[in-house]
């Protein structure tokens, strides 16, 4: 009956309850949208970055990450690949042979990252074939190269043209070769789009004279929030000091820091919205206490303990917040879903600004429901926190003074 009492009391002042619930509803929608857009932007950026470069986790020769030299490579080892194949948390992995080289065509030359790949495995991770804007994707036996669109444009090259690569090979050898272009891919992250190229693994090994060696194995996972445990697990299974396992946060800390900073900014904005909610709830509490003081006096007079009375009042506040929260989540969900399916392609100044920060100028919200839940918890916490004022006032009630009020 206490629940029934709280629920019915909540609707006693219908208009006020609707106003309070509406403030929670709209603030929830805005808070959720802000959060899922920021998270979505970074999810995409992190996912694009790690899939094209280091992976969520990477195994490489101990010390490779310090100097990124092809001398710090390691030989193919079935033991490591066996461990990776049986780990359920790993969705895909691919070996890579990476080096920096100069790409040249005609009068133009540009420094870039050239990556030797296993075309099938690479495609499972970075979906390179889906990013083709011209030509075809690589095959294992090809002696072709794939260029990023920005690089191709800079070098004024198109499919079937030839690009000359110049770099340093294994153990100080000279690396020089020319490859016809099989395809051109467009990458979402502008910086990557201006300076990447891919060769089939055999070609890259030939170019760098490394023999059957890799620089790294990039790993993609189911849940990127569980990387630390997975890293330890893989490290323990591999054992020894020959290999190093690193997470993406360790390899590209600036990306993680940017993510955390943006999340912090978003939380400040959310804080403003929470303040709106807090004022709405607190106003309701104040008016409710004022209007019902006489009734509280009567309830205490007929034998209702203050603790029970406080519980009913807190229940009222929490119910109101739950209704607002659920409606807010329900209202936000179709909007988030729509923009997930139809992402906003930013153009003009906004788009350019995003590109400057190395974001692909696309706003595609995250569908991770935990972002909805977090906002719900925040609103409920506010309601509980503010209800302590009602509890305080109820415990100070003198029955006779309240009855006479």
């Amino acid at each position: 009956m206490y629940f029934k009492l709280a629920w019915r009391n909540m609707w006693r002042s219908r208009r006020r309850t609707i106003i309070t619930i509406s403030s929670i509803f709209f603030a929830m929608i805005f808070a959720i949208l802000m959060r899922v857009i920021i998270i979505g932007m970074f999810d995409k950026m992190i996912s694009d970055t790690v899939s094209m470069s280091c992976g969520y986790l990477q195994i490489h020769h101990n010390g490779y990450w310090e100097n990124k030299s092809v001398d710090s490579t390691f030989e193919e080892t079935p033991r490591v690949t066996f461990i990776l194949d049986k780990e359920k948390e790993i969705t895909a992995w691919t070996p890579r042979l990476e080096t920096f080289a100069l790409a040249s065509s005609g009068e133009r030359t540009k420094g870039m990252l050239v990556i030797g790949i296993d075309p099938k495995k690479e495609n499972a991770i970075s979906k390179l074939s889906q990013k083709l804007v011209a030509g075809k994707y690589l095959q294992d036996s090809d002696k072709y190269i794939l260029l990023a669109q920005g690089l191709a444009e800079y070098l004024k090259l198109k499919v079937n043209d030839t690009v000359i690569l110049l770099g340093q090979g294994y153990q100080g050898s000279m690396a020089a070769a020319k490859y016809p272009i099989k395809g051109i891919v467009k990458l979402g992250i502008p910086e990557m789009n201006k300076g990447m190229a891919w060769l089939p693994m055999a070609c890259a090994r030939d170019f760098l004279s490394t023999g059957a060696r890799y620089t790294s194995i990039s790993i993609m996972v189911n849940n990127r929030n569980n990387l630390a445990a997975l890293k330890q697990n893989i490290k323990r299974q591999i054992g020894g000091n020959e290999y190093e396992v690193m997470t993406w946060q360790e390899m590209v800390p600036e990306l993680d820091q940017l993510f955390q900073a943006k999340l912090g900014q978003n939380e400040i904005m959310s804080g403003v919205l929470y303040l709106v909610i807090a004022f709405g709830i607190f106003g309701t509490i104040l008016m409710m206490l004022n209007e019902r003081m006489h009734e509280f006096g009567i309830l205490i007079a007929v034998g209702m303990r203050k603790g029970i009375l406080a519980r009913v009042v807190v229940m009222e506040m929490i119910l109101m917040s739950i209704v607002g929260t659920i409606l807010g989540m329900g209202g936000a969900f179709p909007i988030v879903l729509y923009f997930r399916v139809h992402p906003i392609h930013m153009s003009g100044v906004w788009g350019k600004e995003m590109e400057q920060f190395n974001f692909e100028p696309i706003l595609q919200p995250s569908m991770d429901f935990s972002n909805f839940i977090i906002q719900g918890y925040a609103v409920l916490s506010i309601a509980v926190l503010l209800s302590t004022y009602a509890i305080y006032k109820i415990y100070r009630i003198k029955a006779i003074a309240a009855i006479n009020s």
């Binding site: 019915r8 009734e295 007929v302 303990r305 009855i403």
Partner: protein, 232 residues
């Protein structure tokens, strides 16, 4: 003789440090079980304050109140709330039912706080509302009831906890003649048949006529205490 209520040298002073007002001034009062007592007197004579002190809603400045031998003026606030719940029924001038609950839920509410099982609560609430002539109004909310009906629900609520006595502060003040008559008949019947003790403050001559004992207060003091035979 054992008394349900014993008040000794009861005094309540408002503004004791500035301009003291003696709302109740050295009152001694004993009430036996089964009494039907009216507290009468002009406005400001201290009737309501005396009822509040007897009912444990307020603490006296001096003196004590014993309910069935237990001194309630020494009790903590929480113990007093529990004591009221188990021993005292209240009927207020303005009915003061919980507006969002139905008649039967209002009656059940007191029993809920006594932690009685749901089935017992429901059954007892129906019996009580039948007793006050509202068996056809069980599921009506207070706003759907007349003033007289609301006050009868309030009486049923006061009875629900099976108290030792019921305190009623001007119970007929907001009622028309017919509703007053009806309510008085119910209270008199409960007093006669169930030996329920009633103490009420009133200005209403019809109520005074029904009382078997009339205590008159003036300026916080008892000036007369008379037993009378009922006309009906």
């Amino acid at each position: 003789m054992s008394y349900v209520i014993e008040a000794h040298n009861l005094t309540k002073i408002y503004n004791p440090k500035t301009i003291p007002v003696y709302a109740v001034n050295g009152v001694d009062l004993q009430v036996e079980e089964g009494e039907f007592t009216a507290l009468v007197g002009p406005s400001g004579s201290g009737k309501t304050t005396l009822l509040n002190l007897i009912g444990g809603l307020d603490y006296p400045t001096t003196g004590d109140v014993k309910i069935a031998g237990v001194d309630i003026t020494k009790m903590s606030e929480n113990k007093l709330i529990d004591f009221r719940l188990q021993n005292i029924g209240f009927v207020f001038q303005a009915y003061n039912l919980i507006p969002v609950l139905t008649a039967s839920e209002n009656v059940e509410f007191v029993m809920l706080m006594q932690k009685k099982p749901k089935r017992e609560r429901e059954q007892h609430a129906i019996e009580l509302l039948k007793e006050v002539g509202l068996s056809d109004r069980l599921n009506n909310r207070p706003t759907e009831l007349s003033g007289g009906q609301q006050q009868r629900v309030a009486v049923a609520r006061a009875l629900a906890s099976k108290p030792r006595f019921i305190l009623a502060d001007e119970p007929t003040a907001n009622l028309d003649s017919k509703s007053t008559e009806n309510l008085l008949d119910i209270m008199a019947k409960l007093n006669k048949e169930d030996k329920m003790t009633f103490i009420f403050s009133t200005h209403d001559q019809r109520v005074i006529d029904k009382a078997r004992r009339v205590v008159t207060l003036v300026d916080g003091k008892i000036v007369s205490d008379e037993k009378q035979t009922q006309s009906s």
